[in-house]
Amino acid sequence: MLDPLQIVRVVEENMKAHGLPFPAPREALYSWAKPLKMPDRGSPMLYTGGLYQITPYIMSVVDSLSKFEDLKLISVALKASRLLSTLGLSGLVVRPRADTVSYVENILRSIVELLRKAGVNVAYGYEDDLYSGVLLYDLGLDELFKEHAVKVYKALKSREAKTIITVDPHTTHIMRSVYPKYVEGYDLEVKSYLEVLAEAGLKTEQQNGGDVVIHDPCLYARFEGVIGQPRFLLQKSGFKVLEPRRSGRMTYCCGGPIEGLAPKMAKTIAKTRLSELSEKHGVIVTLCPICYANLKSVSDDKVKVEDIALLLGGREL
């Protein structure tokens, strides 16, 4: 039996227990920020919503799920696993790989530095940089999502945020286009850091970054109108941006959103996309941690998948 309700339950229980959809320590969301000494209240406020930070945890859960090739077996495995038991939750550890943790933390630091260079000094909510609840919304857990969204909104308001700067397409979309429908009186202005950087006019020393092929994330391209900004920023930073067959508004999904429910299908989709991208060039730039994780997981050493923040910040390659 395809029972998505098992996944729904895992996420629900985890959210209730510690505010994150998968077992991960709360500090994982904000510990990266400490050395950057951002003020802990004010506006504009950087709001990550935690997606980059929990990606390494998602990757390791998916990794173990992927061992069960058959969709049905995943259900069985989930049933048997302690992921499902509330009692087992506190004792359950999902171990992310250290290299992916430091990779995503580098991305976040790079984003703050890029913003600073562009003259935008952001505040940061630390313990109040709560998970956005994206997955609750995607899974149809509307009631829990609403409850959570109100909490997140209050936390941001308590830190005096008026404008929030987001770092990934899912969080941008949920905060800008979904929260207003669920949170009464919602009045936060929401901008992706790519939009902020493009508006501020990125200052850069880099001259020749080489060729990259761009993978537009679905939510930026089709739902939030963020298409020109990443191209503009990459070009300004000295990169030549190549377009795959399907890009912009007709971009093709990386498969990521169903990786927890149907890893085999997700991988098949990722492979389709990866080969389309790598046909154009061996360096693929992603704008979303989920895209990064999925494309990366099916790539070999002939292709390089790189997050845009690292390219713009001159931290990679």
């Binding site: 309700l5 149809g140 959103p257 169903i258 299908m265 098949t268 989709i269």
Partner: protein, 403 residues
């Protein structure tokens, strides 16, 4: 013969489909070809994009006044000497058609998703009728004993090699080279005889005009022309969401459907406004000149009227079944309609399954949706399909809370 859906079994099918190299290859070819073809067509003829927008808004208007349109359609159909019936459920539709057809008859069918929706072929067979699908794709599906894998290309999952073996085996004929042309001519010969000797022809409809009762059907094969004109009785199954106010608008629906299916210009557009008749002798109208003497029109509800009142699901009623969303969906491209219910699959199909069969089982299938929105972007009438699918997931969660 109950038409039902179990998410469980669907999952098995999907797993198998993912491992089936031939199936994957056939889908890859078909969807890439279709994507390129439609994109080219729309670049060359941007006026068709405008026409699609027009159809989008006329469908919205139609759904808002669905009940009135149904009433008007019934009235108009009577005026043109057609016999209208309203079938609220699958059972009612079958019973109505069963009574018209009777038993021991030969029935030929032109591709109709509505007929599949009510399980008509199997039902008529159970009444001891001989039933043949005449659309090549549907015919292959009939031989294979499977279900349509795409809204307009039912056998999209078959390679030519598979189709050729199937036809040779089932019709017990040798197919010389196994090329596509040989398959087509073999099937043509086999079906030609069935069509001219059939007692009843069954079709669907792309649209029905409420002002005139005229049915519009678009096609390339010409099997619809034959099926709706050769037998003495024609039964058209028209889901009520296909009713639009005027004949001109019905025509626009057909053009846009064909365009977004990648078939422009469509080879044939049929308009059927009543049974065949002549008044050549003394101006006395006599029915059944060269075409059917009787035209029965089954207006199929099966959840649609209820959906028209639902703020989210009513969007699906704007659908013109072009199949564009399927060819653009990253999930469907690997599953075809194995991802779906017994009739409809893929982006639009999950929602149609929810409307016509079971919202909760359909909602479970919606969990395979990526929420990527390519379907929304591709849909000519601008249906927010990904939003509907998310809504179905919410219904699943709510139902589980109720226990």
């Amino acid at each position: 013969m109950k038409v039902k859906l179990e998410a469980d079994m669907v999952l098995d099918e999907i797993s198998k489909a993912l491992d089936n190299i031939e199936f994957q290859e056939a889908l890859r070819r078909a969807s890439t070809n279709n994507q390129v073809k439609v994109a080219q067509l729309l670049t060359e003829k941007p006026e068709l994009i405008e026409l699609a927008k027009e159809v989008g808004s006329l469908k919205r208007r139609s759904v808002e006044s669905l009940r009135e349109l149904v009433e008007k359609a019934v009235e108009s159909l009577r005026k043109i000497a057609a016999k209208p019936y309203y079938a609220e459920t699958v059972e009612e539709a079958r019973k109505l058609i069963g009574d018209i057809v009777g038993s021991g008859k030969r029935v030929v069918m032109a591709k109709s998703m509505a007929a599949t929706e009510i399980g008509l072929r199997q039902y008529l067979e159970s009444l001891n009728n001989e039933v043949w699908e005449t659309d090549l794709g549907e015919f292959l599906i009939q031989l294979e004993g499977s279900k349509p894998m795409h809204a307009i290309a039912p056998a999209v999952h078959m390679t030519r090699e598979r189709a050729s073996t199937l036809v040779a085996e089932k019709l017990k004929v040798g197919i010389p080279k196994g090329g596509v042309e040989d398959i087509v001519s073999t099937v043509r010969m086999f079906l030609r005889d069935k069509i001219v000797t059939a007692d009843v022809g069954v079709s669907g409809a792309n649209a029905l005009a409420a002002d005139t009762g005229a049915i519009v059907l678009v096609e390339n094969e010409s099997n619809i022309r034959l099926v709706t004109s050769a037998p003495p009785t024609h039964i058209a199954i028209v889901p009520i969401d296909k009713i639009v106010p005027t004949l001109i608008e019905a025509f626009k629906v057909a053009i846009v459907q064909a365009t977004y299916a990648g078939l422009y210009p469509p080879t044939y557009i049929n308009i059927i406004a009543g049974p065949s008749s002549t008044a050549d002798i003394e101006q006395i109208r006599v029915y059944g000149a060269q075409g059917p003497r009787e035209l029965h029109v089954i207006l199929l509800d099966n959840g649609r009227m209820k959906a028209s009142k639902d703020p989210v699901l009513k969007e699906q009623l704007y659908c013109i079944r072009c199949g564009r969303c399927q060819f653009e969906c990253p999930v469907w491209i690997h599953t075809a309609n194995t991802w779906g219910g017994p009739t409809y699959g893929g982006p639009m199909g999950i929602v149609w399954t929810a409307i016509t069969l079971d919202p909760i089982e359909a909602g479970k299938l919606a969990y395979l949706c990526l929420g990527c929105g390519r379907c929304d972007e591709a849909c000519p009438v601008n249906i927010n399909i990904s939003m509907e699918l998310r809504h179905l997931k919410m219904l699943v969660v709510q139902a589980s809370k109720r226990g």
